[in-house]
Amino acid sequence: MIRVVLPPHLRTLARVSGDVELQIEGAITQRSILDALEARYPMLCGTIRDHVTQQRRPFLRFFACEGDLSHESPDAPVPDAVASGAEPFFIIGAIAGG
């Protein structure tokens, strides 16, 4: 089971509290995590990555295991600890006031 931590605004939008848990078959990558997340919570489509280009929105970053995965390939395997569910995959909004 993959654990995903959403920023507060997206938790509100998706109407979830706490971590999101996703069952994913096959390779665990950023893309497969986001695909599964959007399939379960379609209101998140377009809020994390662009509808068309699939590029990460500029004010969002991806972290896991105390590392920045934002600039990794979306098709690269995520760390084993994320794939096993031991560590969550964080989606974090830039700290930019407001």
Binding site: R40, C45, T47, G93
Partner: protein, 391 residues
């Protein structure tokens, strides 16, 4: 007894204010969508309990919300979870410029602040205009400037690309708030005719339901652009129409209050005795088509009322002769702004007039502007105000 519902969009959420026909005691619901910018909310004239809201964020982009129960509950249209193996739908916030060879126009460029050319890039929805006849049809004015339409209650959106691609686009440029299509006026007597306005491009009209468009800026004079009488490039802030006279439009331009009596073919200045004719809002009395309201703002660099006095000005002669309306409004040390989508009227008798400020107040007058009172006064900065008159 009939009543009113006031839809208030703010920098940090939405609020819904309701009152009976006396408009004295107000219930405040909200904040809805806490922490998000709500650029605009508007109800369907066909089904008043159907509301649309534009929810935006610099971090997470655009969200479209819809309520079918007058704002009690909200959904992002079409966002039911996908069945196993199916791709998610979730396209209510998918605003993609139509550059397809079949129905679209090439994604050309517009002018940037420094005069260079930049390609169109979607940023947010500024204004939602529900159809006058179909509760599932709604128009969206977006930044970078374009017009989109949904015919399925907001589940999906398609650009009416004839506007963006009609030819003058490379001369359009952003105003201080961005290059936004902020005004959509539907002609109640002619479903093929729509008026829109863009900062800073000007006003445009279609007479064929949005396929083709033409600028309607003859008579506008803008000293801040290289060619003051240019066909496009004018910073129109707002256009208002009375339903009974769809060929008569009133415009608050960057500077100048204007009027047309021929559906935009030509405009005349009606600033008259206004103390300053810079401003953002303009609206028309619900029952008197020659009675119009503006809120003069000091200047384009000082976005607050002249002399710190918040005054609505009313003309009962269709312009030129204006009177200040001050009773109940702060007349000292007031330095708020009233943004372009933040004034509306109800259709009760007598006509109610409403406006919101960047200081978080929403003022209402239940007597056509004679007296005013704040119905809320400490909200986040108000971006938009719409009013529904309920049966």
């Amino acid at each position: 007894m009939s009543g009113v519902r006031v839809l208030v969009g703010t920098r940090k959420g939405a609020f819904i204010l309701t009152a009976d026909g006396k408009r004295e005691k107000w219930d405040v619901s909200g904040p809805h969508f806490t922490g998000w910018e709500i650029y605009h909310m508007k109800g369907s004239p066909v089904d008043p309990n159907r509301l649309f809201a534009s929810q935006t964020s610099g971090w997470f982009g655009q969200i479209i919300q819809r309520s079918d129960d007058g704002g009690k509950t909200w959904t992002t249209p079409g966002s039911e979870p996908a069945p196993p193996g199916a791709m998610p739908k979730g396209e209510s916030n998918k605003f993609v410029y139509d550059a397809s060879p079949e129905t679209g126009k090439p994604l050309t460029t517009h002018q940037w602040y420094d005069g260079t050319q930049r390609p169109w890039e979607f940023k947010r929805v500024w204004h939602l205009e529900p159809s006058l006849t179909d509760p599932d049809t709604v128009y969206a004015g977006v930044e970078d400037a374009a017009l989109f339409r949904s015919t399925d209650g907001g589940k999906s959106w398609h650009e009416l690309s004839g506007l963006r691609g009609h030819g003058t686009g490379p001369k359009w440029q952003p105003g201080a708030g961005g290059m936004c299509l902020h005004t959509i006026v539907l002609d109640p007597s002619n479903p093929q005719r729509i008026f829109i306005a863009i900062s800073a491009a000007g006003a445009f009209r279609t007479d064929d339901g949005g396929k083709t468009w033409r600028p309607i800026n003859k008579g506008l004079y803008s000293k801040y652009i290289p060619e003051p009488t240019a066909e496009v490039g004018h910073c129109v802030h707002r256009i208002a129409m009375h339903r009974s006279r769809p060929g008569v439009l009133f415009m608050q331009k960057h500077w100048d209050v204007m009027r047309t009596d021929n559906a935009g073919d030509s405009w005349q200045k009606i600033s008259g005795n206004l103390p300053t004719d810079f401003g953002f809002v303009i609206d028309v009395h619900a029952h008197e088509p020659e009675t119009i309201y503006v809120v003069p703002i000091k200047s384009d660099s000082e976005h607050f009322p002249l002399d710190g006095k918040l005054r609505v000005y009313r003309s009962r002669t269709g312009g030129n002769e204006w009177e200040p309306l001050t009773k109940g409004l702060p007349q000292s040390n007031c330095y708020v702004n009233v943004l372009r989508d933040a004034m509306a009227v109800d259709s009760l008798d007598s006509c109610g007039v409403y406006f919101g400020t960047t200081g978080g107040q929403v003022y209402a007058s239940a007597n056509a502007g004679e007296t005013w009172a704040p119905i809320v006064r400490d909200l986040p900065a108000v971006l938009s105000v719409e009013v529904q008159t309920l049966p």
